[in-house]
Symmetry: D2
């Protein structure tokens, strides 16, 4: 596996230079484009790494999975009163569908849906950001994981589109806490800094029927774990969810920091990272690396 990962990174490295690092906030635009890492964590607890697998980066929308898992943990099926689990067919930050569907977001992985999930968690936790940070540290088995305050603040300064979504939902009665406070939490989650190794470990429970071996905790029931994977499979990669299923065939979730996590149910969790994005906002080299892995070792769930 180790050799394979190294080989795959070598194969996709030439793609660097063909994508574009996210630049909507300065703190992300600064990230050196030539970084590339991958980590695979097996259900029996082996970690395989290659490239910059131990360099922390901004997880961004990958945090939407953590938020969803936290919400399912404490609120269960009730959350589906407030959002759906259908693919949206619209850009991740579009308000069009949200207005037509009267403030109920399509799924937890578009921004509006993630904001509702944060609103749910905000109602639940006295200190939502700390709760999340500790939850993620526990999942990853790494007490060093932190929120990058500079990134969170910078995102907050550029909050306009997300604020619009939150206020639109509030106008339909589907937002319960103070908008600004929830946005602060939301951007803090996005600003978590984790490495490929951290993320592969943190998501291993989704490959293992909800059980996190290294912490010894049942994070979700087997059924809930499958459900989260199902939502990732249909809605995890923005406008490119269909293409990711077509090319890679795994449940996955991407972030504009250039990370992508994917799950091979029953076997592995994997995280790949390369900061340059394709036109759909997903890591260009990252998707290619996962496609090669899927082809080479038959990982597709289909």
């Amino acid at each position: 596996m180790q050799a394979l990962l190294t080989e795959i990174l070598d194969q996709v490295r030439p793609l660097i230079g063909q994508g574009k690092v996210a630049d909507y906030i300065p703190a992300l635009a600064d990230v050196p484009a030539n970084q590339l890492g991958i980590a695979v964590y097996s259900n029996d607890g082996e970690l395989y790494c290659a490239g910059d697998a131990h360099t922390p980066f901004s997880v961004q929308s990958i945090s939407k999975v953590f938020s969803l898992v936290q919400a399912i943990e404490h609120s269960g099926e009730d959350i589906w009163q407030r959002l759906g689990h259908e693919p949206s067919g619209q850009p991740f930050n579009s308000l069009v569908q949200l207005e037509f569907e009267r403030g109920k977001p399509r799924n937890p992985f578009i921004n509006a849906g993630a904001l509702v999930i944060c609103d749910i968690n905000q109602s639940r936790f006295a200190a939502p950001v700390l709760s999340m940070r500790d939850f993620v540290r526990r999942l990853a088995g790494n007490p060093q994981i932190v929120v990058d305050r500079r990134v969170a603040e910078s995102e907050y300064q550029h909050r306009a589109r997300n604020a619009a979504a939150a206020y639109l939902m509030q106008s339909f009665g589907n937002f319960h806490n103070d908008v600004e406070a929830v946005l602060r939490s939301y951007f803090s989650y996005c600003a978590l800094r984790m490495s490929c190794a951290d993320l592969a470990r943190a998501f291993c429970f989704l490959a293992n029927d909800g059980f996190c071996k290294h912490s010894g905790q049942q994070i979700l029931s087997a059924r809930q774990s499958k459900q989260v994977n199902a939502i990732m499979a249909t809605s995890g990669l923005y406008d490119e969810a269909g293409n990711f299923a077509y090319r890679v065939g795994l449940p996955g979730k991407s972030g504009v920091g250039g990370g992508i996590i994917a799950v091979v149910p029953g076997q592995f969790s994997v995280c790949v990272w390369s900061p340059e994005l394709n036109a759909a906002g997903n890591s260009l080299a990252g998707i290619k690396a996962l496609e090669l892995l899927s082809e080479r070792i038959g990982w597709s769930v289909f």
Copy 2:
């Protein structure tokens, strides 16, 4: 398996009466609502049946998978110049997205996409309907399969919405043959009459890396077979694709005749049939039966 299927049908039978048989054409409205059947076909060639598994019904949109497979067989990746493989997030017959995206349908399982696929096949075959019928007979191993001319004609009489989609695509240069002729073919495919047993057999190649054991033919490559499954997983059940993944966790395709086929990669193909539909246009008892099967024997791909 046999016993399990019977048990599951017994469990879902109480749902009959809670849905609504498709009634947009008289020929479908006539179908007795209390029919219920299921067939499972294993990769090693065993067929398990329960209920009305041998009663032929109108396959309707399930035929969109046959058309897609035919198109991939002879035109390969080229077809993706003309349509996408992303979920649409819109009703199956909506023209809104089609206009915004300049006549390029999102995927082959919404009506517009299926019409483009039929247009591609129409350019290829001298007698497209016969070619399709023979292809399906071969896949199902049943030379008795026919197109129900009365249903096809009735659908043609009610073609307005599909005609609008086809002309809209023509206005964008994405429709090459005579609209009326392609619509005739399209409705003929929808009007194929097949039983659960026929359909389970016909789709076994998608559970078997593209190989159809009983005919001894490699219908698609392993990779293509996974790709078709991926498209079914993200877009196979209209507006309910996400929910189907969430509840059942299998690639599948439904039709308004009340049939649903699903694929357990590496193991089984399955077809369930009950004519009453839910609000999203999918068989009410059918989805429930697949959900129970998925729970009972851990069929979810996730």
Copy 3:
């Protein structure tokens, strides 16, 4: 007036070369771009002409006013069961709003609305095209007016977008006659060939409370005449209706043949013609000429 018209044409002539002749059908693309004419017809029966005011051209969408007037004449307020009289805020040939509003077009001057009006007239007249031609001849006082068969046929060959609109309305039950037959009539109306002088005369009744002095006929009631002007004022120039009101301040209707008619209630009807169009599909020099006229002799209704 004569001198003023000549002066205004001289002022706008330099715009020729900055627009684009409609080229979606060959028969229109052929029209020499350097033609420019204007005709003003006063309520006391004086005709003032300048430039190519007597050269016939393809009236195109200006015919939508004739169709509407015919429909009001024989069906009165009933027509508003089937379409609205609100501005659409969408391109003239968009299907998006039509689908959202379940097949009821916003107004009679977008294509879908004009098609419904033609459908209404089709139900009424045994020979709709002849009836229309004779109606227009009578209004213009010119028995030489003809339908250009070559243009009508060419438009029919490129009917896809309009066919899509008609079938979409049929799918909502808002289209009663054979789609192809109504499209034939519709394109025949668009293909009427009339000069500026013909059109200024033909529309004089709208400046005169519904009364056509030269034919001695009350075409519409005073109230109906105002209503038609009101619809032209809010919806007569496609996406540019607001801008036309802002710059010119008159009820008007344009066609892609480069003609624009406008009405100065109580005083004049006017027609200007220059084949080159602006980005919104309205005659570039034509709008400028009307703006100058409006400024110079205070014609704005506002």
Copy 4:
């Protein structure tokens, strides 16, 4: 005129009870529904009143005309870089079009457009609300006019939809000041309390080529005055602008407080008030009263 106004109020009074007082904020829901007033102000300075013409009410969206006039006064044509003057064809508070058109509102009379105008004025004035109040006092010749702080505060508490619009525009770079500050100003303008008599007087300059006789000031140029009227004619009554032109035939602007102002260019300004609204959010009895006036004394501009 006096007698006519009284007669018309008697004719429309039976409509009271068939509409619905705006109730999205408590401060408006409290207004007694059975009030009804009208005031007509002639270009030669005569004021004709009937009913509750001297009772102040919440002008709400009628203030959008004041804001627009203020913006034109000091910023001229430049404002059209930031918004259009086309009818929108969408509900007054919709974000759909705003997103498609990248944050540039269609016109100054939908909420998004009025917010941009307020943003422009906010950049210009040190104390925007005081400037507006004084401007309105001067126009109406009434130094008693005040902002109802309770209404403004209540609207601010229910700002979610307008906040969403403002943030969405900010995300496209079309909002320059602090969103919350501009919303405060915007709601203060809406909360101006004026009577029919105040409003008829305040808008007389639009009937008089921009000149306000009682203050002796040229508020706008004649051309600008016509332009404002043109925008009211195509976009002044929300989704019902076309219907208002069709039935009444005058430039006008309504507010959810139940007021409607209209302009008879060259002759009169008029204000009618009745708190109950129709389904489109316009005063039910108010529109009917204006329709009767228009019919009875031939006021339509068409």
